[in-house]
Symmetry: C2
């Protein structure tokens, strides 16, 4: 791996953008360490972190790591997760060179940040200036991370930060930014768990089974507007696209295609109405006829509850049926209110009546040229409920898609899988090393792992080892260097590769596993003996 300290980090991601005009390159390249919002990277941290350089003991080296402490929504029966999102953080923040101006801007800010009375707040100005001067502005830490899309269980470190020498006290300054990996990993895990629901439904009721090409289109990302910000939509939307190809979140589909996949398409969608479209016409039939005229040979969707959902199914739909059939395409009916399960069944029955259906080899009905997408009130639970209900009503999974909005991109949080970054190792000024372990007796689930860590597959299961036990050879360690006091070349896989990794690893991984090695367990025991009680280890 070649170090690229001299080159702007932007270039790394720019190389894949060659379909675009040169001016676009220039503009992106112009944004170095400073965000376009005018906020310098020197304040992209929690306030208290700016004061920590004065709070750590003098040290030669400090190491910290980040981990999810629990399965999705505390699920103990399935603690699998999809580690994802480190590339975004490194490319857009960590690997951006700082400039003197960034420090000047920080100075202007910190000088009135202390409470009360807006007096000066301490910050590590000399250290910032040192790495700007001596390291081309690149933040002076080493960062290891799991390959994007790696499937793991809770408690496996997803990244590890090392800072040495004078820069040791900066070890956790980036924690605030890096901790944000909780988000893409949570969405990627939720999306993949949703795919399990879809696959199971196809396995039971569809001729194509779980490998049907329809599966990858069956959960559509409707979450853009339910995001807090455009940046979130990109990060979360890409995480969803790891398990599905269907997305209306174009910010993410664009980013995944052109920034992460060499221009090869990633996300896709279909023409569809919204209420504003349906209500802008004098009648819903007029709106639907216009859809048929414009898009009737392909797949297209109409929302059906603008006024009276029952009437739309029983009167409007039959009134446009002949025109629809004549064009030959596939119409997707979208309920958008009421009980989700009931709404889907109503639409299936109405469509069956109007367009007819055939029975597949498993005995389930497949409606001719028409299906349903439920995009209101969808989460993992309602998806499962609907899949069950349509099966009981005799309909194949082929007939139904799901749209998940806020449920997919916003209704997760750092507690969903309990993410935290903690210090694990220090070498003091005098050369004395110490493994470090938080072990609060008030919440034994919040203990952290002691010592520098490594991750190796044992029986296919990514398992955590002490890095100093000699059990993990460098080439076996899943924690790979992704940043070394500057960006590295060749550390990122393209999006298709990440998708393939996730697809292969997820199903191969048992739902739960004992993933703490005996040697690490022993180290934990030693730490406990130093401090207190037994934390809640897997066994």
């Amino acid at each position: 791996m070649l170090k690229l300290k001299e080159r702007c980090a932007c270039r790394l991601s720019q190389t894949r953008m060659s379909v675009f005009p040169r001016a676009a390159h220039r503009r992106t390249l112009a944004c170095r360490a400073m965000l376009p919002l005018g906020v310098p990277i020197s304040v992209l941290s929690d306030s208290y972190k700016a004061t920590h350089f004065l709070q750590y003991p003098k040290a030669q080296k400090m190491v910290a790591y980040g981990e999810f402490r629990q399965g999705f929504n505390k699920d103990k029966a399935d603690t699998r997760m999809v580690s994802y999102g480190i590339r975004y953080l490194v490319e857009n923040y960590i690997a951006k060179p700082w400039t003197k101006e960034d420090v000047e801007m920080a100075e202007a800010f910190y000088k009135t940040h202390m409470s009360p009375a807006y007096t000066p707040f301490p910050f590590p100005r000399p250290l910032f200036e040192k790495f700007i001067r001596e390291n081309n502005g690149y933040f002076p830490v080493k960062l290891e991370a799991l390959p994007e899309g790696t499937c793991i269980h809770a408690r496996v470190p997803v990244y590890q930060i090392t800072a040495t020498g004078e820069y040791s006290p900066l070890c956790t300054f980036l924690e605030t930014l890096l901790t944000m990996i909780w988000y893409p990993t949570s969405v990627a895990t939720l999306s993949r768990r949703s795919r399990d629901v879809v696959e199971a439904s196809f396995a039971r009721t569809s001729d194509g089974g779980p490998a049907s090409p329809l599966v990858e289109g069956r959960l559509v990302d409707f979450g853009f507007r339910g995001c807090t910000s455009v940046e979130q939509s990109i990060i979360g939307g890409c995480a969803h696209l790891l398990s599905f190809k269907s997305s209306d979140t174009m910010s993410a589909a664009f980013y995944a295609q052109f920034k992460l996949n060499g221009g090869r398409p990633v996300g896709q969608s279909i023409p569809a109405t919204e209420h504003s479209v349906m209500t802008s016409w004098p009648t819903e039939a007029a709106a639907m006829n216009n859809m048929i005229d414009n898009f009737g040979t392909g797949i297209y969707a109409c929302v059906m509850d603008s006024y009276d959902y029952c009437k739309a199914l029983s009167e409007v739909l039959p009134s446009v049926a002949a025109r629809k059939v004549d064009r030959g395409g596939y119409l997707v009916l979208r309920p958008d209110s009421g009980d989700p399960t009931e709404a889907v069944l109503m639409a299936l029955n109405a469509a069956d009546k109007v367009f007819g259906s055939v029975r597949n080899s498993k005995g389930f009905k497949v409606i001719q040229g028409c299906g349903v997408i439920q995009g209101d009130g969808i989460d993992l639970t309602t998806m499962e409920k609907i899949a069950q209900a349509i099966e009981e009503a005799g309909f194949a999974a082929d007939n139904v898609s799901y749209g998940m909005g806020g449920g997919l991109l916003q209704k997760v949080n750092r507690d969903t899988m309990s993410f935290a970054t903690k210090l694990c190792h220090i070498i003091y000024e005098d050369g004395r090393p110490a493994d470090i372990m938080k072990q609060p007796q008030t919440d034994t689930g919040k203990f952290s792992l002691p010592g520098v860590l490594a991750v190796k597959r044992v029986g296919g299961v990514p398992t955590v080892f002490p890095a100093d036990s000699g059990e993990v050879a460098q080439h076996e360690n899943l924690l790979r260097l992704v940043y070394d006091k500057g960006p590295l070349e060749g550390v990122w896989d393209d999006f298709d590769t990440v998708r393939a990794r996730l697809a292969a690893e997820w199903s191969a991984l048992p739902r739960t596993a004992d993933n703490i090695s005996a040697s690490l367990r022993e180290k934990v025991r030693q730490q406990m003996a130093l401090r207190g009680k037994v934390p809640a280890l897997a066994r």
Copy 2:
């Protein structure tokens, strides 16, 4: 108001940045319509919206508006909210000029976006090219919005979009972006509701009462790492800073100060330890002594649960007490696990024992030079519970602060106050006008308001009127033009002004109010007569 079509929209927000070096200006100015992430504004929408230009009937004019349909967390007893966040969206997205390159990038994307098989997806290329050619790249709609910080009840439009002539079908293209106002408004409302809890607690137990200068520091934003993205932290963190001055989310404190407040300080914090600091020392006492040595004359905080919270309070704290007292500052103890209420009471009792307390005029104890901040598990409910519990234990509100992380910046969603944008008016190609109203019988709470809207104070309450009833004079209308096919000058108030508006309006507004005018109610009745049933209006 002067139109500034010829000038880059970035300049508007740049004028306040004059404390910074010129190069910083240049870099920000370089980012026009394209995000630094390389995603053009031409795809910052839901996929289906790109197809709507083919789905609307031919029209001379179309109008849509955005509203929150319910109070915070469906609270029917208090439907107040703080309208906030339109400035961010306008300055950073809506008012950015598009370029030909943005359209070329869109073309490259849309040409493989159709499902299945990655075929071409329709998008309004001719309309995009037209406004780039004829309107300097500015999106050709008119946008009205409430002044930032305006306190309203649910159902008051927070913005209204108008598109005319050939551009009518673009009326709702920006809906995806604009709808994101749900987020800052939800956080601003949650933060202000939290302040109500703090003020009530001070009113009951503190000498200073609800107007105590301590109040504005009593809810600290701990939410940066719990955000999904840096951009979210800025948007949500600023919303919190409207009601409090205390924040560790420096991205937001910086943005509020330098981009929204002419450089005048907005947010503040104190030096504080984290677990990594406490555990990096051989003992917690050593870590605390170091804090006292470095920050002991001011306010500073130590987290107390790294190993054994009880022991830290009963043994470590007394062991550093003399040194602490000697320095004269204010030590804040931070529990971080266990039951929040219990943890706070334990710390208060321990501090009382170690440092002593005095009784204030209301009979409550104020500990000498020491207090507690609870930053784990905090939301509105736990805040109220703790405030109640410390009162029952005889401690004044002066002793306790709160830190809210994910609870403040992430655990809200578009359903928290039910935000939606809907079309309300159209003038068809032939000149025939029609008011438009979504009224799903399957969820009467989801009805929208018909016709072009205006907002006027009636008895202090922002009330919704039909714009065509003649009841609202232009100068009375709270919906003010903030973008008119290009940025406008002088439409934004600085942050201090917005803070003051919120402070004045929130307390003056009754918790609930009938805010739909009789004339709009009549219009709703007429629409219902056309379509169906009575929606769930306030009366």
